[in-house]
């Protein structure tokens, strides 16, 4: 993108010249730079296949799970280059929520919330564990719904509840930033609006970066918006400004439904 005139001070995350290629030489994300505001909701929009998920997944180094994916540029989280951090530390700081709710099918609701501790072998006292579980479930407004069935399998919950459980699982680590990839696209309108309310509430304590296909959702809950097209970051700004007065023709066309 061009000159970054947003002037975001003390960003939670700085993306610098990020490029990602699945196949040699063909970049799904091209030279993206942006600073992400702390304690705000930032939405990433753009037509299907423009590289939104690819960019989001670069932030917690998810691409390392697969061979042959090339990542260039740098990502600075809380002042530290993410490639200098052990993956466990990075992923504690950058929690991820996926498009489809994916609680661990073998674990109870309780164990799903503290899965990050359990699976990594981080020992907590019973009291601490109980506290983490209750705090995280309260944060996602799921506590009252499940507090009597904590030992049932997480997969018994409804889709919307499962997604809130997955957000709780990310919150249990007390992350700096929460990365969400179309977290409501598999949910019905009621469950969606619950999650939207939740994200607005969560930004008091966390920074939120969310991919969404849904423009009205971006307009409703995000403070800042990015518009990506063919792997490039075309426009980035305050959501209000972008929706009322888009600078780039492609952004305008997308927002007015001319394509996408």
């Amino acid at each position: 993108m061009k000159e970054d005139n947003l002037n975001i001070k003390d960003p939670v995350l700085s993306i610098r010249n990020l490029s990602v290629a699945y196949d040699k030489g063909s970049y799904a994300v091209k030279d993206v730079s942006a600073d992400i505001k702390r304690n705000a909701v930032t939405a990433i929009m753009g037509p299907s296949g423009c590289g939104k998920s690819t960019m989001l997944r670069a932030i917690n180094r998810m691409h390392e799970l697969y061979e042959n994916i090339e990542t260039k540029g740098s990502l600075i989280l809380n002042g530290k280059d993410i490639t200098d951090m052990p993956t466990i530390q990075l992923r504690r700081m950058a929690g991820m929520v996926f498009q489809r709710p994916n609680p661990f099918p073998t674990l109870s609701i309780y164990d799903n919330v503290i899965a990050g501790y359990k699976l990594n072998g981080i020992r907590l006292k019973k009291k601490e564990r109980d506290d983490v579980v209750e705090r995280s479930l309260r944060d996602v407004t799921l506590w009252d719904e499940v507090k009597d069935t904590l030992h049932k399998k997480g997969t018994f919950l409804s889709g919307g509840q499962q997604q809130r459980l997955c957000i709780a699982r990310a919150l249990a680590f007390d992350p700096e930033v929460i990365l969400l990839d179309e977290p409501t696209s598999a949910l019905d309108p009621v469950a969606t609006s619950k999650i939207e309310d939740l994200l607005v509430k969560l930004k008091e304590n966390y920074s939120i970066l969310m991919v969404t296909h849904n423009m009205s959702q971006a307009a409703r809950i995000s403070d800042y918006s990015m518009f990506m097209y063919l792997g490039e970051l075309v426009e980035y700004g305050k959501t209000k400004d972008m929706f009322t007065n888009p600078k780039d023709r492609r952004t305008e066309e997308y927002l007015t439904g001319k394509f996408g």
Binding site: F98, A115, C166
Partner: protein
């Protein structure tokens, strides 16, 4: 144009008739398919149930003379097949101890490296192994174990031949089970910073556990009745033997021995009934597990 009008009454009744014929044929063929198993079970129960008792499980077989006396007096043959039961259990357990870890780890390797040449080679070899006649596996275990290691027929050699037989089934079921687990579950764990080996051990294996168990149980039920490889390896024994370096009996070996002794024929049926019962139980249990996880 109106094709519905073309379906006349005659036409319709011919269709119904065809339909009925077809249904009848399907039913008939299904009956043919299930009849052998029904007949087998019926025959085994009819001829074998009388011998089944506590003694049958805790005693070793009688000698020819005792059996002959009993048969000529019109009594039940005394004794049982305890040596065969313990031998079969010993060798099946040992074969599982060998093939489960090797098979599961190989299956994980294949799942993790689907396209690698070594993985493809392993997969092909495993498939070929599945088709190797069991007597050949017996020969191999004879060469590997009987001669160089236990200097004689042994339970260990029997177990090795059985474990080679089980191995491809476990490799396959492990790989297939892991493939069925959604990628999103794996990514959920990775996104929590869980190191890769722990993702496999603590997320993928527990998630696919019932699939793995089904494969293992089917593998066991497959080797329970194997006779040929044991003839060249475990040989047989008239007493209960728990020393893995010594010749050992097994239920199928005993059935073969009873067949060769005209006085013991009645024991064939009861031994087969027991063996069949074990195999069926394992099959039913594994089907149950598989069904419950769907």
């Amino acid at each position: 144009m109106n094709s519905a009008a073309k379906i006349t009454a005659a036409n319709l009744s011919r269709r119904t008739l065809k339909d009925k014929l077809f249904k009848g044929l399907v039913l008939f063929l299904s009956l043919i398919t299930i009849s052998p198993i029904v007949l087998i079970i019926y025959k085994l129960v009819e001829k074998g149930y009388r011998q089944i008792s506590l003694n049958f499980i805790i005693k070793t077989p009688p000698n020819t003379f005792e059996a002959m006396t009993a048969v000529s007096n019109g009594e039940l043959i005394p004794g049982g097949i305890a040596n065969g039961i313990t031998g079969t259990l010993l060798m099946v357990v040992l074969a599982s101890v060998i093939s489960i870890p090797v098979g599961v780890i190989t299956g994980i390797y294949l799942y993790e490296n689907p396209g690698k040449p070594l993985a493809n080679l392993t997969r092909n070899i495993s498939d070929i192994l599945q088709g190797v006649p069991s007597i050949v596996l017996g020969l191999i275990a004879y060469m590997w174990i009987v001669k160089p290691i236990t200097s004689g027929f042994s339970a260990l050699a029997g177990s090795v031949s059985l474990s080679i037989m089980m191995l491809p089934m476990i490799v396959r079921s492990t790989e297939e089970t892991l493939k069925m687990i959604p990628q999103s579950i794996k990514e959920a764990a990775v996104a929590l910073g869980v190191p890769y080996y722990k993702v496999i051990l603590r997320v993928l294996i527990p998630t696919g556990f019932s699939g793995l168990l089904t494969g293992i149980l089917l593998g066991i039920s497959r080797i329970l009745g194997e006779t040929a490889p044991l003839m060249l390896t475990a040989l047989g024994s008239s007493v209960i033997n728990l020393d893995i370096t010594k010749p050992t009996s097994a239920i199928p070996l005993l059935i073969w021995e009873f067949y060769n002794d005209p006085n013991m024929v009645d024991l064939i049926w009861s031994s087969s009934l027991l063996l069949m019962g074990m195999v069926l139980t394992l099959n039913l249990v594994s089907k149950r597990i598989a069904a419950r996880t769907k």
